[in-house]
Subunit: 361 residues, 4 copies
Amino acid sequence: MMGGTLMDRTMTGAYLPGNSTVELREAPVPEPGHGEVLLRMKASTICGSDIRCIYHEHLGKGPEGYQGVIAGHEPCGQIVKAGPGCRRFGVGDRVIVYHISGCGVCNDCRRGYMISCTSERYRRAYGWQRDGGMADFLLAEEKDLIHLPDELSYSDGAQVACGFGTVYEGLRKVGISGDDDVLITGLGPVGLAAGALCRKLGARRIIGIDVVEERMQLALRLGLCDEVLRSGQDNVAEVRGLTGGRGVERAIDCSANDVARATAIRATRKWGRIVFLGEGGRVEFNPSPDIIHDQKTIFGSWVTSTWLMEELVERLVRWNLHPADLVTHRFALEQVADAYTLMASGKCGKVAVCFDEELQS
Amino acid sequence: MMGGTLMDRTMTGAYLPGNSTVELREAPVPEPGHGEVLLRMKASTICGSDIRCIYHEHLGKGPEGYQGVIAGHEPCGQIVKAGPGCRRFGVGDRVIVYHISGCGVCNDCRRGYMISCTSERYRRAYGWQRDGGMADFLLAEEKDLIHLPDELSYSDGAQVACGFGTVYEGLRKVGISGDDDVLITGLGPVGLAAGALCRKLGARRIIGIDVVEERMQLALRLGLCDEVLRSGQDNVAEVRGLTGGRGVERAIDCSANDVARATAIRATRKWGRIVFLGEGGRVEFNPSPDIIHDQKTIFGSWVTSTWLMEELVERLVRWNLHPADLVTHRFALEQVADAYTLMASGKCGKVAVCFDEELQS
Amino acid sequence: MMGGTLMDRTMTGAYLPGNSTVELREAPVPEPGHGEVLLRMKASTICGSDIRCIYHEHLGKGPEGYQGVIAGHEPCGQIVKAGPGCRRFGVGDRVIVYHISGCGVCNDCRRGYMISCTSERYRRAYGWQRDGGMADFLLAEEKDLIHLPDELSYSDGAQVACGFGTVYEGLRKVGISGDDDVLITGLGPVGLAAGALCRKLGARRIIGIDVVEERMQLALRLGLCDEVLRSGQDNVAEVRGLTGGRGVERAIDCSANDVARATAIRATRKWGRIVFLGEGGRVEFNPSPDIIHDQKTIFGSWVTSTWLMEELVERLVRWNLHPADLVTHRFALEQVADAYTLMASGKCGKVAVCFDEELQS
Amino acid sequence: MMGGTLMDRTMTGAYLPGNSTVELREAPVPEPGHGEVLLRMKASTICGSDIRCIYHEHLGKGPEGYQGVIAGHEPCGQIVKAGPGCRRFGVGDRVIVYHISGCGVCNDCRRGYMISCTSERYRRAYGWQRDGGMADFLLAEEKDLIHLPDELSYSDGAQVACGFGTVYEGLRKVGISGDDDVLITGLGPVGLAAGALCRKLGARRIIGIDVVEERMQLALRLGLCDEVLRSGQDNVAEVRGLTGGRGVERAIDCSANDVARATAIRATRKWGRIVFLGEGGRVEFNPSPDIIHDQKTIFGSWVTSTWLMEELVERLVRWNLHPADLVTHRFALEQVADAYTLMASGKCGKVAVCFDEELQS
């Protein structure tokens, strides 16, 4: 199946017309050019943004616009063909794909933050402006690849590409250790990833807030939170009650909800730090009591760099932490429509489309 | 005039009944107890908060409540008598008074941040809950004193106590150097102090925003800003236009105005830092475009510590920077009512009540 | 026994004449003056510096000179009498004594680092220049006290005063979390404290190096290290071998040995941080390969501040970490000579002189 | 002269046989491949390392070995031909070449630090393992290019590539602003660059130490130092004498001399920071008095990243700072032997080989 014969073949890919359906179409298997590789897809998970901005309706514009490509921006697979000019990766390598392919040579790309690539011409997100992981094969640039060690499965890797990487960046910005009690507002996939990573970084007491009972129970059951609070107007007092009246040292907003964001700020202790990861919406607060008098700092954090993603992968192995533990449902590519339907329902954890051996695991 | 005979005498002090008037009354000259000193007042400046929260009406409660004491929380003078137990300062020493006398032994006081003292019993602001600097003499605790070098005048020192110290703390938090273009929103005394300190820290291009023409001109005339913009809805675009499209590396809000705060955030460059110094009001913004996608950080900063105030004094000498250059009007204690009337009118820079040689200078 | 009648009584105190003996003498029970308290001693541990610089011979000069006072600079006890002017602590309070009493008003004291007090007149270390904890009672200044929560024993507290506080400061400087593999060179009491605190901060793999078999086994048995290496010329290669070839992210020198210090530097990973805590001796290395090419940073760290010591105590409770677990031998005051003899032999962990209920535990 | 006809031509290049001579040879003008460009050289400066490790004798091994290529690792020129796959730069662009071409896809390259590229196969320094700038034309990879704005000359740019970039990285690590008095040990080209950049970052008092009278005078004449000391055993006391007894806040070693490095450490103030930039040699000091008791930090710093080099270029324009002001002698390519002879004599500032319009300026 590998190698030269791929060119003669076609593959199946999933497209999102924007009316809450999925279309499967045949497309030619691409041929890797200079600095490019062809991946046999192994796992491709669905992100909340896929549902919000593409599946139901094509909402985004410009760098957030869906351009009718094969969907899936959390791809993980194995290299089956490498074009000329590849310097690090080759056939047989297991790899994660950083979900934005930048130009590689602007200042932001040079920092490793291809998410912020300033090239209108070359910045293209997998699954949004260039073909993504919901297909048998994926064409990727070598510079977008992150090595996936044998200790991690492809489904582990698929979640590094977007969710875990984004969380890790934010946690590095504020610093998390055993010194810290942590509040996580919003217990969707990003919030759960935050719980898992804070735990490994040493946090002892992790408090979660959400509105959905299932998520709250999942966070407790997986041991990702020590305490879970239902979202409500007493949250600040409740968090202070759980922390000896002090508040938490660190708060991580994964909700994008304005009330939850204000809660994250207000439930944080004097000299504490808050990071906003959840996308969209607004926030409103009163600087004097909320951040000035208590000398607090609020960080914005977006995705991560390729090099920090590599550090994260190294740490996942060291910690024996498997992001795939958050995957509750796996589907074959032929059932991809069911995968999106389930994800859109919200009655699930993380949802993955898997291939080959990864489908059985 | 010094020493033992002080006890037999009375002094004049200024009180603020809260109806936009000032009362001068006689009071006994206090006697310093253990760890206390008696200062001959030399300069006592008026802060915007004195007008806002006391002079017109007694608005504050608790730690911000005015308790009918002698006014003035920016005092600077010379020690004329030292009680037992003083270890560092003695008669003849020129000193600034940190404007909050804390308990000295809670965790916040131990960090040097007496402003945040958690002792309900012992935390008392000069001029608000214990007698302040608008009198012939002031009783202070030795632990609240900052040495005033000969190179600085008492009027220089009076402004260190509150305004310049507060600004320096905020600038230390975000870091200011020749690397940075800086935006200052609000050009009142705090904003002007920010301009003066940013300049000495190395900032090359300082952009100010205000609504009052006189302030804007003053900032330019004193060389504290390179460009001054009138507050308006195009400010973000204007700041970007002045900075090659990038925005400023650092923004300092001294306005407490919600629109200006949002401008400070939005006119800041990718990876930049914003600090909020202005007190009161609210802020509202959209985290994704405003801080998340550009990896920005917002700092709250309140007053400063005694030890950093000492560092600031050392730097003022090194820089030959004289905060008193911002004083536009000086009054004798007998004319203190005129001083408050002028300050309340806003048609002035910093207003000082001065004594002895400081009145002439 | 408490209160006014104490003045009429004498107490027993231990003095170190400098010839490897201890003298017990009677002394009047002191009376607390302004801002002072009298402690009933409960636990007083022996520091390596007591043996090195006083017990065998009086080596130190100036701030490190022993002035014939009652020994013991790691005191912990209960307040039985409070002088006038105390603002936070009172009779019955359980307290740790910060081991240096500074003037309280110089710049270093104001930062909380009384260890660095610049007042020649007022800076006095307990047990070195003013009476220490090896007596029935101790006179201390309120500003030197750290609250001891009920969850911690007096023997826990005695070790906070010097060893654990010193370590915590160094760890805060370099930052320790689950992200870090840590190397500790030197497994004496300070090195063991480093192991205990790194563990609670989240470090997963802690590697220790020492020359004494007993210490190496103790570190393993208490779970404070995961791997222990005997000091030798292959240490750098061994540490790299244990860390996938990378080296550790953080190294903590607690040995003061020049070879071990160079090992700490060289076994640290690219971009890593090293902190020197062990006192005395020298270090030599080759900057280009050792720190320049790998962008490493070396921190010097000395003791800690009063306010960070308070944070440490709060964390010890949160972590359920008991420094007294490192105490291997307890003696009554009458047997204090045996305590010093044992400590000087090195065949022990931490050695404590205890009183009352603390002696039984 | 441009374009397709280049292939037909040969060019002149300078080679260093290692016996303190230079050979000029003809070589074919290279043809840019995928992601490569051909530069018309405009300025190529000589670095001290070229003299030390290549010109006199070929000392280096491995990544520091000279492989008989065209010399010159500080090249700056204009693109005359661009291979396929270039995304940002094109014909006519003025560019600086980052002096190490890394693989581009290892973790270090992804951070932008190609100097630390871990690929044995692909890491090649211009002028050491691949043809450098001492020729009419240079073949470079697009990913190694830094845009040179019109406000800077090619000779300015040549010095960014190695010296100024290296210094800027170190200054960013320790932080330099108007808050800082700075000591620079070693006033060769790197030390002079440090003086120039510290000045622009806001440093007010810059103290230099060197042994060569000419360098000392040059530093003063260019205004890069305020005070210059002759290297000697009283340097620490002299620096303290110039800084009110405190020492400097920051020290930058550009000497690689062990005595000077120890001076840099010892002349630094409590809580201060030292950075080592000078390459080679050793250092020895006494940690307790030298860094532990004064809570100092020593940073190793190596070269810089591509993205920080871009920031530096942006700042040079903003500051109107021209590195070429340190160039004292310019030579045409035909006189390149004289250029190396002069540089080896040490009787000069920076020496440049220039082409076309850059030779006249």
